[in-house]
Amino acid sequence: MKKILLVDDSVMQGRILSRIIEESGHQVFEVCDGLIALDLCSIENPQMIFLDLLMPEMSGQEVLGEIKKSYFHIAVIVRGADMQKTSREEITELGGDFFLNKPIQEEEILSDLGTYLN
């Protein structure tokens, strides 16, 4: 069982994603705010993070930048509907491991879990 952190300000998205990951046998920590996510990284040391891009207060890009500064080993899957080439390039430059399109596709989530946890 691996530890997975979900960062999403949408309760609905968090609930769907949480169900998919828990059913595949992993432990889920769900937060709706980037600052709490950073705290949880130091406390729980997750193996993987699913990070929403568009969030109030601290954006997904800011959270990603902070996580990769201190926890480069954690795989971060960035989730969003922004498919602009420049936005994707920014995510790659910040150290994002993969970009997943919204809305959620269960098979894509399961595939990412398999790829990045092994």
């Binding site: 609905m12 769907i16 568009l54 109030p56 509907a81 922004d82 498919m83 602009q84 420049t86 936005s87």
Partner: protein
């Protein structure tokens, strides 16, 4: 009209996805990056729209307006204040536009921008919520807020509600803000909210 926390959360998420799709299409067709900020969403009665918009928008506004029909029906609008509409048009067009005499180029560019945004939003609604929706061609209005609200076609036999979305985004280092409005009669709004409730 009561909207539950779950419905508002789902509505905001669907709108965030829809607006991001709009920005993608706008970026692709104009070759400019569009940087998005999170949306602010509320559902208000049509009568309350004037109060909501007049508090933040003064003078003439530019509106691109579309009528949609199908499983749900109503009016969709992309609203910018006059100055923002000129700024956006100039940035996308690449040369200044005389704001005293807004001519064909201004109208064409702005109508196209509104068309791209509204098509992507309503198309994404349709895809996520599994609605069949057909859209009218876009119309551009340059007028005061009162006249804009009078131009909305509504079924007067039932109460009408508006999904009021405050949008903000950045194009070429310029911050811009405006609104998306989706006006529906209570029958359509209840179908819409019921679908949102079932998501997740």
């Amino acid at each position: 009209m009561h909207i539950s926390e779950k419905q508002l959360d789902s509505l905001t998420e669907v709108l965030n996805i829809s607006f991001a799709r709009s920005a993608n299409d706008l970026a692709e067709s104009t070759d400019n990056q569009v940087i998005l900020n999170p949306l602010k969403v509320k559902v208000v009665s049509l009568a309350d729209v004037y109060g909501e918009l007049s508090a933040v928008t003064k003078g003439e506004i530019s509106t691109i307006h579309k009528i949609f029909r199908g499983n749900i029906a109503g009016n969709a609008m992309f609203v910018l204040d006059r100055n923002t509409s000129f700024l956006l048009t100039e940035l996308l067009n690449g040369f200044p536009i005389d704001s005293d005499y807004p001519g064909g180029t201004y109208r064409e560019v702005l109508t196209e921008v509104g068309n791209i945004i509204l098509n992507a939003c309503l198309g994404t609604f349709g895809n996520i919520l599994e609605f069949e929706i057909s859209l009218s061609v876009s119309s551009l209005y340059l007028d005061g807020l009162e006249k804009l609200l009078l131009s909305i076609y509504v079924d007067t036999e039932e109460p009408n509600y508006t999904v009021l979305v405050s949008i903000s985004f950045k194009v070429k280092e310029s911050e811009m803000s405006g609104f998306l409005l989706f006006v529906m009669g209570i029958t359509s709004m209840e179908i819409f909210l019921d679908k949102l409730e079932r998501l997740g």
